[in-house]
Amino acid sequence: MSYLLVSEPERRLIPSSGVRGPVPLLIAIMTFVMVVVAAAGLALANTASVVRSGVEHRYSIQIVDGAARAPAAIAAARAAPGVALVEQVPEEDLRRTLERWLGPAGAEADLPIPAIIDVALRPGADPATVKSAVERAVPGARFIAHRASLEPLLEALTGLTRLAFGLVLLIALASAAAVVLAARAALDTHRATIEVMHGIGATDRQVARLFVRQIALDALLGGVAGAAVAGFIIALILGGAGLAATLAGAPLLGWSDALLLALLPILVALLATLVARAALLRALNDRL
């Protein structure tokens, strides 16, 4: 923290124009990309969570060509422990669904369709018990977890979320590398001043302090600007994504997500400060 407290005479030693360079713009761009990618990652994570919770404890009993055996399966399921809901999907609904894929042929009465029974279990119920009860009552019936059907989608969402957060880390690393280069360039620009200071007895910490404060301010300025632009664009996108939010059953980004995104420029500035301090002390240590 003492690195950020620099007196007015100390500030005069290193004119701010000598440190600034492209750092604020670079950090602004990096933060913009970081916030957008992080928002996408959070939205994907939220969507996956909504989808996962929607199918959690939901199962289907499928009886191929056996609509007549459906009542037995329903009875067996209702009798099993931990079952909250058992409901057969009406045949009309199934035919309507088939019609979307097969056209008018899907609605023909002679097309055999399976009986589908939706089952919801209470939290903590053992699906294996229900499955064996149903299979005992109706041999050949299939007891299918909804989650199993959606697993590829959930895996894809999880993968994309991880990719987004990985990209955020990569951008953070790239920002850190840019700060290191900026810090070294600033040292080179002010080599003469630093040599005089060292010659007079300044410690590396005293020299580094002059640059760290400016780099921290530049990073904060760039970070806030980049995050503000990103926030505006995200707000526009979310405004047009009302349908997606409705389908998902929850907003794509919550308040906690917004808070996390708002913290990103501060984290970027903090990272820049720590990286600049380490890079400066390391570079100064290479001199006598």
Partner: protein, 242 residues
Amino acid sequence: MTGTIVEFDRVGLRYGTGAEVLRDLEFRLAQGAFYFLTGPSGAGKTSLLKLLYLAQRPTRGRMTLFGEELTGAPREALPAFRRRIGVVFQDFRLIRHLSAFDNVALPLRIGGASEEEVEGPVREMLAWVGLADRASARPPTLSGGEQQRVAIARAVIGRPELLIADEPTGNVDAAMAERILHLLTAMNRLGTTVIVATHDLGLVAATPGAQLVRLEKGVLVDPTGALKHPPGAPPRAGEARR
């Protein structure tokens, strides 16, 4: 003169993989004395001064400053020693974007002095070097002699124990050279050990009591013997005064 402030023991210096620019330097400098370092161009005067103001480390031998062996001293230990040394560089090395006041105040601020502690001494020092009315001027607007005096003021503001000046009169006229020499001898009278590298033998002649250290081709030439055993410093064990 109460003791030894600098001691070199078979010190050598080379830059990179080049030939040694200083070889087997062995001498002691007495505290409170006034020394002139002379020698032809390329003799190694500036290199020797760099060793003295800790801008370079010897590549071999042993160097003792203020009674502390510094050859293997950690880098973090050097700033404290540098604060006890004042340096007047040949090219002044003033910070161009700072005022004369800020340039002179730099050693005090680096030493941790508050602004209240800086104001008075810096004004006093600028008056001492005759630049009281140029306090807010920046180096590019000062003449060579004025810059030289700002550099001297900066070197002595912290009351250094050792004052090193590299060709302090090289860029000024005779009157200014005399004035600068007066400033240096005044510091010496206050107890500061002064080492001045110069080509100007007139300067040497004008400084009674000063001793001569002569370098040629990186080795010490010591016809008087005063260098190895300056007045006040006893001969080392096993050595006889020549």
